[in-house]
């Protein structure tokens, strides 16, 4: 619960401090192109495609594993600095 209050404190403080900024609920429409709608329907179509074409899922999972590797490397770099591998 201490952690809950720590997170609550951070959330409240940051939210209050930046509350003058506009809140973003949708992506903007640029030059008549509804970016939010296009991206949403595009992702839905992508999931639909992945559901009917099985190799997509495997490729996607492979990409996730690769990014997880980069993420771990980034964490190591953060903690170890120049002593991190590669």
């Amino acid at each position: 619960m201490i952690w809950y209050y720590v997170i609550l404190f951070i959330t409240t403080t940051l939210s209050a401090a930046f509350s003058w900024l506009p809140k973003i609920t949708t992506l903007p429409t640029i030059l008549g192109v509804d970016i939010d709608g296009q991206l949403s329907s595009g992702m839905a179509s992508f999931y639909g495609f992945a559901n009917v074409f099985w190799p997509i899922k495997d490729v996607f999972l492979g990409a996730l594993v690769l990014f997880a590797y980069y993420g771990i490397k980034m964490i190591l770099r953060f903690f170890l600095g120049h002593r991190a591998p590669a």
């Binding site: 506009p22 179509s45 495609f49 996730l64 590797y69 980069y70």
Partner: protein
Amino acid sequence: MRYSKTLSILAVVLFSALPSLAAAAPTNGTITFSGGNYSVFNQTQANGARGSGGSRMRAGQYPNGTTTIQLTNGGHFNTASSTWTAFGSTVWVGNWGCTAPSSVEADCNYDASAHTGSLTDIAHYAGGHPGTTTVPVAGYYYQLYYDTLDAPTGVYYEFYWDGIGTPIQEGAAPPSQTTIISVAPINNTTVSSSSPVVLGGYVYVLPDDFSDGMYLEMKYARYSDYQAAVASPELLYTTYTFPITASGFSTFSTTTPSTLRGGQYTMTSTIKSASMLNGVLNFFGFGQFANFGTKTSTTTQFVVGELSGYDKLVASTTQAIADYMASSTISFASCTSWTSFDLPNCLNLLFVPQAAPIAAALDNFKNEFLSYAPWGYLTRTVAILSNTASSSLPTFSVTFPLGSAADLDTMTFDMQDMIAGGGTLLNSIPARGMSLNIQDILQPLVRLFIALTLVVIIVRDLSHGHGGGKHNFHASAARKKGHV
């Protein structure tokens, strides 16, 4: 730059794995078998083979005096003495009897010829628990085998009955959501401390909920072990996982490798879909937060052997912690309010993290601070990317003239039908001389290719395939010497 991309992808993974808890509450249907000859068997009898001593029904219970299964349109029961079993151990012994209308017969055993037309045949179980009338309150599933008189076919109807409501027949009225129907050991029962304990579960997974890598997780811990000082409460649990390989009804059973120490145990059974985040959380010892991909969960308790006085003392003192762990509604009113003051809960609130409020706080963080411009655009993008709603592929039309400009023809292409239908058609064709289709054959190869590619990329990256890092000692030393 490369890492900022990594961050956004990791954020996608994180947000997409937010937990979705579903309550388990099976709905009731009606069980009616039309025609045919049936017998009730223990599932452990292979392929519908008849057990010695007559027909058997698996995992039965007898809370209300009579179990009634109704057959219509010439349905017939082959019945003799029955043994009711729960996950391999016999718990009920009794006899099946039949009553038929219109005095067709007094005993419907092995008599199908008399049942024609639309007669109704009712079988009832007339046994009981030997030596006691205490009945556990839990649901079980039954298997009713289809026979051609004395020739078992191995075909059976499976249904679930909680002993009170109307049975649920598989296929006719499955549960409306993914649910854990029953677990073994049965809730609030005592199991022997002299032999290994049978662990098992009977679950139903909705086709829409099913995904590869789904599993039933059963973990148990002894209440008195809560006294131990461990880094994570998760370490107190012994966990078993049973892979769920298909949607629909599944049953799982195993025995513990050795006998369990006497005492009171708490057991949590959960249906989970595969989640990388769960693996990471478990790895770092934060298993109590590994609730991502949870479809449904139930907590039961059982006693091994007899409780000693010490066990009873410990169980009562640690019950508060167990309740606290299971609850997400205990609030700080336990510390601040006179009327609801509760010292154990108050102390727990201070030191033991609760998953639900922290998840809610993180959610607030996402919905408030992270939604402000300009970084709100990134949050919104991540939210869109992590949304798993899917839609059919679009159709498109091509219009072209046939000879003259006025004579037009339009052809419409349905991409969804072309790809999904083509895939279904392709998968329906097995390779010559075997049952494998093209997906079965190619998928392992594709996965092998992807895995090898990943290994090559990672090994190349680790072995300085890009010429070494800026701060790498050997590379920078070589650069200084002008060797690179």
